[in-house]
Symmetry: C2
Subunit: 227 residues, 2 copies
């Protein structure tokens, strides 16, 4: 077999919810092409390295996060000839959902990495290098859809969270307001979504709230709705 010269990259859409908005981790490119523009973190897959392994490695390099406990899933692969001016590069894109980190991003490239509101990035078609605008659009769309029928929202939360905090995730990702009372009913009654811990917290102010952790459910029955 002989192959054309071609590289495979693992790119990451790392999302979090901070200050009530959905944000993505971007890095400022220090080298050509697209020098000075923002881009999704990522890098080439090494020989003998699995795709997901490469994604986890990049994730750790960029965020310093122990990637074991982070939700990471493959979203799509982009391979249009010409998408990278350096040559043929296939980009396998992964979506990572991380909790709001108390510490700032602490990766090796931390100096040039930054959380930016997704809405803000997507309003400007040319903010991102390469075809990253489209990649981000697709990944965010996937995340929004998955919140409905999967317990994924909890991946944005710390290990212990309140129902309000969970609701805040939905509101930020979907960009809607949800009724606290109905949301509380649905979240706590949906089988295997959240597990009460017995303890409470007052960190959100007001009456102390029950703390929960993620339940074992892989899909939500019934699904949560955006309306």
């Amino acid at each position: 077999m002989d192959f054309e010269p071609l590289g495979v990259a693992a790119d990451l859409v790392i999302l979090t919810v901070r200050e009530g908005s959905l944000q993505v981790l971007l890095i400022r490119r220090g080298i050509a092409p697209y020098r000075g523009r923002w881009a999704l973190p990522g890098g080439f897959v090494r020989p003998k390295e699995d795709l997901e392994e490469a994604a986890r490695r990049e994730l750790q390099e960029e965020t310093g996060l122990l990637s074991d406990r982070i939700h990471l899933e493959q979203v799509a692969t982009y391979g249009e000839p010409g998408r990278d001016p350096r040559g043929r590069v296939i980009s396998v894109t992964y979506l990572a959902l991380v909790p709001d980190l108390p510490s700032p991003v602490a990766g090796t490239d931390a100096a040039s990495a930054e959380w930016v509101a997704v809405d803000e990035v997507l309003t400007d078609q040319d903010r991102l290098a390469f075809d990253h605008h489209r990649i981000l659009t697709d990944a965010v769309e996937r995340a929004r859809a998955k919140l409905e029928y999967s317990p994924l929202a909890a991946a944005f939360c710390p290990d212990e969270f309140t129902i309000s905090e969970l609701r805040g995730i939905y509101e930020a990702v979907w960009g809607v307001q949800l009724d606290p009372r109905n949301f509380h009913r649905k979240a706590t009654k949906t089988d295997g979504f959240v597990i009460p811990l017995g303890a409470t917290t007052t960190r959100d102010g007001g009456r102390p709230a029950q703390l929960f952790r993620r339940g074992p459910a892989a899909t939500l029955h019934p699904p949560l709705t955006r309306g």
Copy 2:
């Protein structure tokens, strides 16, 4: 940039519903590795060819189908080192949903291509070459899930179809029995799912049934359920 020697393949999971069961198009491999074993159709992406373009080309080569009208979507990409004994090969997998073809498969490789029931293939871990068992599992899982919230089932039907035929798709893909009366109510009342044509057919026997075509909806509200 220098690259390790590496190939990118577009592989296809082509599904149809025939005789009440979900079937997949497999080809018998004529050359090593895995000579004589069944495998998913596919082939290497050519220089200057987009991934989806490659998938459509393979689809046409294998089935002779004008791929314009065929539902084709990317499912996942597999790149584990060692998944292909010939060297590093990244497989970008596409899912194609085709109607039950009146003519037998008429591709260039028709002699070695065959429809096989998915259930039958998946019961035997070693029936397929490479990691195609896993790829097929993932693709079928995707198809099953998407029937719930997307109008995709209609992609298995000819242009004009009856509600019963549509129900037959769901029953075959999900492997369940659905109540004809409730299904009829949901399918016809879900906004934009199906459009009545006014004409009827008796091809299914019994009372003449209304003919429908696919509606414009991209997602189903409310979704159809498997129970």
